[in-house]
């Protein structure tokens, strides 16, 4: 059987975890699928996983798991590995998913392949994973009694298979002080003026160094507001202090997968492309027709973003949008 560590927030399972479940189901090849959840809200989401093919959902019940604690969660995985002997353990390749499974791999001396985009059932387990920020794909084989893998977000489609509600079982893991050295004690909600979440937005417009200043983002903000999208930026912008890191799209920022990504005044370095590869369509706006982003985009406009973005907004308004 295959075990999936599932992340959830506010009573909703993370999309990346649903995608991980889909890949885990492929590896399981018919064998039962189990899930592990922890933290407040696990009860609401557990049974619903049955729709994605999960037979049994295990809820780790411990007061120390009220906030995210990577090593403690890895211990929970370790306990389930000992008790259930899964062939493989999967999780979303999110920051937390990667961290928790990395600890589980170290604790259990087990192999881990992170950021997988495909896998074939079998022993040894063959996977394809993203390397070098998406510049390369690696085909690899995992050898070991239990194989761990994380699934790169936005690379596998989640799928509901119409199963009945999952059986929910609770267990209390034995956690020591050392397992709780790193844990979230407080979450501060950053006030976004009713803004759209960058990671989920269907439309994202980003500006890079080409914006010239924090004020240079004003047209982008207007366009995003008009289309109900979000504003992103490149790392150069966050380093210059024009925008906060939470707006950064890239390898060390947020990975996005919108319907359309409008990248303006961004050269298109590999690390930035790593963050926006999930976009269905990329439109680049740049004064430089030789910019690397043009080779990675689907469409391009050669021009200054200070002219182009307001023109797009005006065209949309004329057409009656917003």
């Amino acid at each position: 059987m295959t075990l999936v560590y599932v992340e959830h927030q506010d009573g909703r399972v993370d999309d990346a975890s649903l995608q991980a479940i889909a890949l885990a189901r492929e590896i399981a090849g018919g064998a039962p699928l189990h899930a592990l959840l922890a933290g407040p809200g696990a009860e609401q989401t557990a049974a619903g996983l049955g729709a994605h093919g999960v037979a049994t959902a295990h809820i780790a019940d411990h007061e120390a798991l009220a906030g995210h604690a990577p090593v403690a969660l890895a211990r929970c995985i370790g306990e389930l590995i000992e008790r259930l002997s899964p062939a493989a353990v999967a999780a979303a390749g999110s920051e937390r998913g990667n961290e928790v499974l990395a600890h589980a791999a170290a604790i259990g001396d087990l192999p881990l392949a992170a950021n997988c985009i495909a896998a074939e059932a079998g022993d040894p387990l063959t996977v394809t994973r993203i390397r070098w920020g998406g510049s390369l794909l690696e085909d690899a084989r995992l050898h070991g009694p239990v194989k761990l893998l994380t699934v790169a977000p936005h690379t596998v489609d989640a799928a509901e298979v119409g199963g009945g509600p999952a059986t929910v079982e609770r267990f209390t893991p034995s956690l020591g002080e050392a397992d709780l050295v790193v844990r979230v004690v407080e979450t501060v909600q950053q006030s976004s003026e009713g803004g759209v979440n960058l990671a989920d937005a269907r439309f994202v417009v980003s500006c890079g160094r080409g914006a010239g200043s924090p004020e240079g983002f004003a047209p982008a903000e207007q366009l995003a507001a008009l289309l109900g999208g979000a504003v992103g930026c490149s790392r150069a912008v966050t380093i210059a202090g024009w925008r906060s890191h939470t707006d950064q799209v890239g390898q060390t920022g947020t990975k996005i997968a919108p319907e359309v990504y409008l990248a303006c005044g961004i050269s298109g370095a590999t690390q930035h492309m790593a963050g926006c590869k999930g976009a269905k369509r990329i439109i680049a706006v740049n004064v430089d027709p030789e910019a690397p982003i043009i080779a990675n985009a689907d469409y391009a406009v050669i021009g200054d973003l200070h002219d182009v973005i307001p023109a797009i907004t005006a065209e949309l308004r004329e057409g009656g949008a917003g």
């Binding site: 043009i294 406009v301 021009g303 023109a311």
Partner: protein
Amino acid sequence: EGLNLPRYPSVPGRLRAKRKPLASSAPAGRAPGVEKLRLRLPPGQGKQAEILGHGAEAAPAVVEVLRRAGLVA
């Protein structure tokens, strides 16, 4: 002078070094848990973007792409 200037060995130093024992060991080694089979380029490389236009005059073409993506009513 500078922290990054190399400390070159002297000639007698180099001769002494030749006589020193050189310990070598073969680590027990363990089968890699993750065995790399091959690296390859992701598909869809080397495409060129479709140029929608230059400057503000490309706006209608951009809006058309947005419309086809279902972002504009």
